[in-house]
């Protein structure tokens, strides 16, 4: 094991996959000599040159479209949108083209492309630079959606994403890049569709993903001091969703909190809560408690923190679910 930052773990994955397979390249705004807005690709251009670390103009739709065409013709592009907030400029390419062409062509075409993007709050960057828009992407069949929380998963899932033959939306969290964690020396591929039990517990199942995993772990520690033993599930991939792990945990605890940073209304948490309510009502001791981001644009400045769930909110949710 070596200790490295989330951004370094991502860089390691890119490095390993680009070394392994010369069809893999990275394209996006300032990914080359600048090294990426969050320094994920820093240094890679020295290794791979500007043919494979392709700095692009500010043209989000064409960046994704280029990746689709390159993937259809045999390359394995990793394309980057600097912020997930810009995905609205490219949703046609992502949802109408990348997601659908395999199906529409009756299985003839395949699009082995990873779309890296970065979201979430934490830098008071305002309503157009702080969003969590994964719900848009999970809603569209044909895409895979991956949201790693830990450095280890960041590396292992990015490698799996690059080897996947399907278009994968890979969403990093801007608040995690500098977080240090252990990552195995040896190569590791983390499979899609397998959630991680970030903390095991017996009283309450707390389901979450991406940066909220850490808030959940803190809340779980505090709750355990109060005698509530919380199991924290880190979903890791939202599509495919590892419902199996969710179900097993809920059958054990009978109580669920779902927490997510995105707007609460019609979010990933809505789907999880709905599905548990529909399929596991008989084992639920208490209704699912769902805690999402507020349904307001995300303010710049100090107001930002009120717009997304804080540890205290999760704690209250845990207590509520546990019937305290």
């Amino acid at each position: 094991m070596s200790v490295m930052m989330y951004r370094e773990a991502l860089r390691l994955a890119l490095y390993e996959e680009m070394k392994r397979d010369d069809r893999v390249f990275l394209a996006g705004e300032d990914v080359g000599s600048y090294g990426g807005a969050y320094a994920v690709s820093r240094g890679l251009i020295q290794e791979f040159g500007s043919e494979r670390l392709v700095g692009t103009p500010i043209s989000e739709a064409a960046i994704i479209g280029m990746g689709i065409g390159a993937a259809m013709t045999g390359l394995r592009p990793v394309v980057e949108l600097m912020y997930i907030d810009f995905v609205g400029l490219a949703m046609d390419q992502i949802a109408n083209q990348a997601a659908k062409f395999r199906y529409m062509s009756g299985g003839q075409l395949k699009i082995p492309m990873v779309m890296r993007m970065q979201g979430g709050t934490g830098r008071s960057a305002g309503a157009q630079h702080s969003q969590s828009l994964e719900a848009w992407l999970v809603h569209i069949p044909g895409l895979r959606v991956v949201m790693p929380a830990s450095a280890r998963d960041a590396r292992g899932l990015l490698k799996t994403a690059i080897r996947s033959d399907d278009p994968v939306v890979f969403i990093e969290h801007k608040g995690l890049y500098a977080k240090k964690e252990e990552v195995p020396e040896e190569e590791e591929l983390v499979p899609f569709g397998k959630a991680r039990i970030a903390r095991s517990g017996s009283d309450v199942t707390l389901i979450t993903y991406s940066r909220m995993v850490y808030t959940a772990l803190e809340a779980a520690e505090e709750a355990s001091a109060g005698g509530i033993d919380v199991e924290v599930i880190d979903l890791r991939t939202l599509n495919p969703l590892d419902y199996h792990t969710i179900e097993k945990s809920v059958r054990k605890t009978g109580t669920v909190v779902v927490a997510y940073e995105a707007h609460r209304n019609v979010g990933m948490g809505s789907e999880i809560s709905a599905r548990i309510g529909e399929e596991l009502m008989d084992v639920l001791k208490h209704p699912v408690v769902r805690i999402g981001g507020k349904d307001v644009p995300i303010p710049a400045t100090v107001l930002e923190k009120y717009s997304i769930p804080q540890k205290q909110d999760l704690l209250e949710g845990i207590e509520q679910a546990a019937g305290r």
Partner: protein, 333 residues
């Protein structure tokens, strides 16, 4: 024979290709009116055959392309098999897309067809990406985005032209200018008609030709492809033609002047070219008749094939959403 002269075999091919397209389109339009095609939409390229044939025959093996929603003719010019095209348009299992795509999403990796697209402009950046691969792999192939005049006002075109020019990608942006986008005449959609300048201002070698003149298209395409194949970057090729039918087969185009339609019908690229070749003794009447008969037979076969092909079944709904199987524990979210 000068460098830019066209040999007589090629001339006959150009004519034959146009004839094959026209026969296919006329027939598929007829099938649509008879209710035999699946889906409510069918866009014919009758009137635009010279563009499909001219560019299509200038392309080479290994070249790739994408088309807009009016792409039957282009694909026929690139080798598209009428059987599987017709079956797809009928919504049958033997169709190119196994009955999932329909007229607007035909694709064929084998012939380099990366897909027809029902989003105006949606195919352009994808073709640019095909050129990215060709450049990455240092081939001398090209990639062509075929689209209509309506797509001239989709921003992604300019993003794509700029990127292609920036990296000298071997991409042709080919405008099948049929003067209308649905009911909107080109001058009501594009403020300036100086399209060659649009391309040039982004650094593309640009050319506009009479898209009713198949030789002009063919020669223009050859010149532009030469530019790209020799590593000099992308090109912008505007070919002016006309949509003889309505936007969809059933659209009577009430928004067009009958005079205007007549003017263009009088320039139908097929009979004129046939006459030229016959008067120049490059082909005989019998040659033409042979090609026409063959085309008719090919189309009739395709209709039979499509009729006899199976209708997809409910279970087919779930195939080809993803490539990678997910192991048992991961249900699809």
């Amino acid at each position: 024979m000068g460098k830019n002269d066209i040999d007589s075999r090629t001339k006959r091919s150009l004519l034959r290709t146009m004839v094959r397209i026209r026969e296919f389109e006329d027939s598929v339009g007829e099938m649509h009116l008879r209710g035999l095609t699946a889906g409510s939409m069918l866009h014919l390229s009758v009137g635009e055959e010279a563009i499909a044939a001219g560019i299509g025959l200038a392309m080479q093996e290994g070249d790739v392309f994408t088309t807009h929603h009016r792409g039957h003719g282009i694909f026929i010019a690139r080798g598209g098999e009428m059987n599987r095209m017709m079956a797809e348009i009928f919504g049958k299992s033997d169709g190119y897309c196994r009955g999932k795509g329909g007229s607007m999403h035909i694709a064929d990796v084998h012939y380099g067809h990366l897909g027809a697209n029902a989003i105006v402009g949606g195919n352009i950046a994808i073709a640019m990406g095909g050129g990215f691969t060709q450049n990455y792999r240092k081939t001398s192939n090209v990639s062509v985005a075929f689209f209509g005049d309506g797509a001239l006002n989709q921003g992604v075109l300019y993003e794509s032209m700029n990127m292609a020019a920036l990296w000298d990608l071997p991409v042709m942006f080919a405008v099948v200018n049929n003067q209308y986008g649905m009911g909107t005449r080109i001058d009501r959609a594009s403020a300036s008609q100086e399209f060659v300048k649009r391309g040039e201002s982004f650094g593309l070698r640009s050319l506009q030709v009479d898209g009713m003149d198949v030789e002009a298209v063919y020669q223009g395409a050859n010149r532009l492809f030469e530019h790209s194949r020799s590593g000099k970057g992308p090109t912008f090729f505007i070919c002016d033609a006309y949509r003889f039918y309505g936007h969809g087969r059933k659209d009577p185009s009430p928004y067009r002047e009958k005079n205007e339609e007549k003017k263009w019908w009088d320039r139908d690229p097929i009979p004129a070219y046939k006459d030229t070749l016959i008067s120049a003794d490059l082909i005989s009447d019998a040659d033409y008749q042979e090609d026409l008969d063959a085309a008719k037979a090919e189309v009739a076969d395709a209709v039979e094939f499509a009729k006899n092909s199976q209708v997809p079944e409910e279970n087919d709904l779930y195939t080809y959403v993803y490539v990678d199987p997910i192991d048992a524990s991961g249900t699809i979210g």
